[in-house]
Amino acid sequence: MQDLKRLANTLHPLERKVLPLLEKNKDVKSIANISGLQEVEILRALQWLENKEIIKLNTSEKKILKLDVNGLKYAKTGLPESIFLKTLDEKSLSLEDIKKNSELSNEEVNVCVGLFKRKGILDTVPGQQVKFKLNESGLKLINQKSIEERLLERLKIKDLELDKLNPEDKFAFENLIKRKEIIKIHDEENKIIELTELGKELLKIKLDLDLIETLNPEIIKNEEWKKKNFRIYDIKANVPKVYGGRLHPLQETMNQIRKIFMNMGFKEMEGPLVETAFWCMDSMWIPQDHPARDVQDTFFLQQEGKIPEELAKKIAIEHESGGKSGSKGYGYKWDPKIAKQLLLRTHTTATTFRYFGEKNIKAPAKYFYIGRIFRNEAIDATHLPEFHQSEGFIMDEGLTLRDLMGYIKEFYNNMGIYKIKFKPTYNPYTEPSMECIGYNEQLEKWVELINSGVFRPESLEPYGINVPVIAWGLGVERLAMMIHQQKDIRNMLGATADLNWLRKHKVKW
């Protein structure tokens, strides 16, 4: 009894309306008629009642016949064949005249001629122009209604169920369904409702129709809740999905990187996206014939920029002969014209060297940058013409390769990566240079994320920097894709981003 009472209190108002009707009514239509509820509401209530095992729903399928486009027309006018017969009547008419008088289409007239010729009720009248005439048996048919037309008239009044047709109608249906858009078949699901034992029990007790549905200010004020029961909700029921606004996963990754750098005492830099080749390459001792300067790797602008003249002189010497840095230099003639080319920066180190050249940075100093960079590349799952790079440098007396390794290890630890390996590599403006490979515990594999090095003396001398500068950088997308296990960069960056994925991406620490 206690259980039944509780069960009664879980009933939604719709359920409470529908349930008492189920004793006498077993289908949705009749419940709709009696209750005045909409069919969708009843169906929802029935679904809930079934979930609570109060009723059992047996679904049967019915095939319902309805008039289609042509059927609707013919139900009014009669079928083309009777129009044909009525038009011809006792006259002799040419095909053209029949069409004109009957307003039937070419196709319809041709079908009728074929049909009636086969039945032997239509004769041809010879002459200049071929005419048609009905014979005796044909004339008898004029005012007879065909079984097909009778079916159409009945369907005009109401839809019929296929299984309930009498044999004559069934025969007519089979003729009509072969013809174009006269009858359509509609599959109708019919639910037969059956009360379970539990349902029958429930009907015996009085259903408390006065439950509190939605708690509102009124009820709180007048303390109605003290007198009434709350309806018990089905708290396990599924609810519609909602999505909130989110920061972009790349922004989240950038914020994480920014936090690590700032915690380690780094100051953030900023610099222009359009750069001169001077700041992007020459300023850090990248030779003027370096492959990165090829058009297929870099976006060039159709304009030249300006370069700082005094510094350019020093850079020229550094490239040509190594200046006083202890270097041999590249041994070529440095060309200021090449340095003036404007381009979309290919790495954030352009900004690092702008800071060396323009901000007069003094040791000890730690700076970082997170910025957009560009490559003139074909687009695929791992390449877009632009992406983000993050890099940091430290300038101070006494810094060594070992310190670079130590700082990188610290940086990785902050990202939750503890196992790392170093691999020497080549980079035109750092020596030694190294890649740092971290072991990703989740993916269970080694991933290369960081590139690093000690800036070459040739790259620093023009700025009067005579203390070591160590630096490292990483690709932001690469890291974010790894964190979020996203394999296609296009789903993340650019207007091709997948909004569904952005809405649903997981929170990562």
């Binding site: 001169t276 006494g398 310190d403 020497p424 030694p432 003396p457």
Partner: protein
């Protein structure tokens, strides 16, 4: 990234027996990578600054040295043969050459030679822009050889794998290699040629050899080798790597006396540069406490010859085929590689400083927070875009913008000068995703500015767009009100005309008499251009002007 293709069995024979795993580890420590292996075939990723490793024989020397095995120095015998350099093309003035005898070529060795030539040409010689290499069967050549130049119309010979003699000009049009490298000699009045004493044309560098006298095969025992190009140092380097490989294949190299108008060179000369390395220099860069003998041992693993050692310095010889030693730091890097990067004890010298970020980053963070609270999804769209997207589809006239030169992707020809079109593009790409769509981006646009060294400036903007069945002006103005109120900005609005928006439903936004943005209901014609069947309203704010950013 450059790939050296070689064979495991060859390395086992010429270095010592190494398992794939051992080899992989040694390569990793040296800074290279076993990219993949298929049976005996290995693909090794070596870095571009070491052209000497582009030949199997070069790699063999490096590995032997690293493992403590001795390498023989390259030996050169003298010959009295002469090559005259007379009136060379001014664009391609340098040539060096020598001969190599007693070669036992087989199919594999010929392939290796071709590989070295191609890899050096493609990387170190920058697709032959800096120089080219050639080999000829010695028995078909009569000395003295001449390196000179000639009007391309008058050059006539049968290029490699071609059926008939054609002129230099025709080679550029008809011969496949000629077509590939045609751009190298564009505009040259005279083309470089090698010819022998009997005036037989041997080749037309840097394009193609003669089929009759410039083709080597398995029967070739003796060769004439040459390199030509724009810079003597570079071509000598490439030439030495090729000749070194021929010597390591078992050949005997004989020098040639190359006579220029004003100098004589005896080629080849495997010149080892002498350098002084200070112990302190090494230790201060690496953070180590090596003594000079420890450094000596490490240097020897990396093919350096140490002539003398004192307590605080070493006199060393740099291997002749190393073109990447500009400074002592390059040698110290090799010391570190020999020691093993993963053997260093890590440390973190304390560098005291206080972290900080920029005003732009802080503004972006604060505004993003407000918008996310309103249910806006942040986007990161691209800077590179097209005039069609930025202007045509938005129904507006072209604005001043930064044009881009050649792009690999068609449809990229400018940098964005406003953000909204890129958000519209995102709406277009996400038409099938459940609505409502509320998107925002806070990022830069780039506009021309002649006063700047880079002729442009990046401006921070905020753009947002609502797209759903009843998106309207009120909705967007509510957001503006909220944002401006949060920022304590008293703004004014003036109706304006903007092709992207419905007339009478768009406006400019002003603050202190300065325009700081615009907003409106997006015009149905624009919606149609972007394939959208939902109304949209949008706002774009000039954060630079609002916050006086520079």
């Amino acid at each position: 990234m450059v790939i050296l293709e070689t064979k495991h069995s060859v390395l086992n024979k010429l270095v010592k027996k190494l398992s794939l795993k051992e080899l992989e580890e040694i390569l990793f420590n040296l800074g290279y990578e076993l990219e993949n292996s298929e049976g005996d075939n290995l693909r090794i990723d070596v870095t571009t600054e070491r052209p000497d490793l582009l030949s199997t024989y070069g790699l063999v020397r490096a590995l032997r040295s690293y493992l403590g095995l001795k390498n023989e120095k390259y030996k050169i015998k003298k010959s009295d043969l002469v090559m005259n350099v007379i009136d060379p093309a001014k664009e391609w003035p340098y040539a060096v050459a020598c001969i190599v005898k007693n070669l036992k070529f087989d199919d594999e060795k010929i392939k290796e030679i071709i590989r070295i030539q191609e890899k050096l040409g493609g990387t170190f010689l920058r697709n032959r822009r800096k120089g080219g290499l050639g080999l000829y069967p010695l028995n078909k050549i009569n000395f003295p050889v001449i390196y000179t130049s000639e009007n391309p119309k008058k050059i006539k010979y049968r290029p490699l794998e071609y059926n008939e003699e054609i002129t230099g000009e025709e080679i550029l049009e008809k011969h496949p290699t000629g077509r590939t490298y045609k751009h190298l000699v564009e505009g040259w009045k005279k083309f470089p040629i090698f010819k022998d004493y009997k005036n037989i044309i041997m080749s037309m560098p840097p394009i193609v050899n003669s089929h009759d006298v410039g083709k080597i095969d398995e029967n070739t025992k003796e060769v004439f080798v040459e390199a030509t190009g724009i810079d003597l140092k570079t071509i000598t380097n490439a030439f030495n790597i090729l000749v070194g490989a021929l010597i390591d294949m078992g050949g005997d190299a004989y020098s040639i006396n190359v006579k220029y108008e004003n100098k004589n060179l005896i080629i080849p000369e495997f010149k080892e540069e002498s350098r002084i390395l200070i112990v302190e220099e090494v230790n201060s860069l690496l953070g180590m406490n090596f003594n000079s003998n420890e450094i000596k041992k490490l240097l020897e693993k990396m093919m350096y010859e140490v002539k003398s050692v004192t307590q605080d310095k070493l006199e060393i010889l740099v291997p002749s085929n190393r073109s990447d030693i500009w400074h002592n730091v390059d040698i110290i890097d090799d010391v570190a590689r020999a020691y093993g990067f993963n053997n260093f004890e890590l440390r973190m010298n304390n560098v005291a400083s206080i972290g900080s970020t920029t005003k732009s980053v802080e503004i972006k963070g604060a505004l993003s927070n407000l918008l996310v609270g309103f249910g806006y999804q942040e986007l990161f769209t691209l800077f590179v875009t097209s005039k069609q997207d930025q202007f045509d589809k938005m129904n507006i006239k072209e604005m001043k913008h930064i044009k881009l030169g050649k792009s690999v992707e068609s449809g990229i020809n400018m940098i964005r000068c406003w953000l909204l079109p890129e958000l519209m593009k995102a709406l277009n790409n996400n038409r099938s995703i459940e609505y409502p769509h509320k998107l925002f981006e806070i990022s830069h646009v780039t506009v021309p500015d002649e006063t700047k060294d880079v002729k442009s400036k990046d401006l921070l903007r905020l753009s947002l767009v609502n797209c759903h069945s009843n998106a309207n002006f009120t909705e967007i103005k509510q957001i503006l009100d909220f944002l401006m109120d949060s920022l304590e900005i008293k703004y004014e609005i003036k109706e304006n005309e903007h092709g992207s928006f419905i007339p009478g439903r768009c406006c400019s936004i002003y603050f202190n008499k300065k325009e700081i943005g615009f907003m409106g209901e997006v015009h149905p014609a624009v919606l149609k251009n972007w394939g959208l069947e939902m109304p949209a309203c949008a706002l774009e704010l000039y954060l630079n002007d609002i916050f006086k950013l520079e």
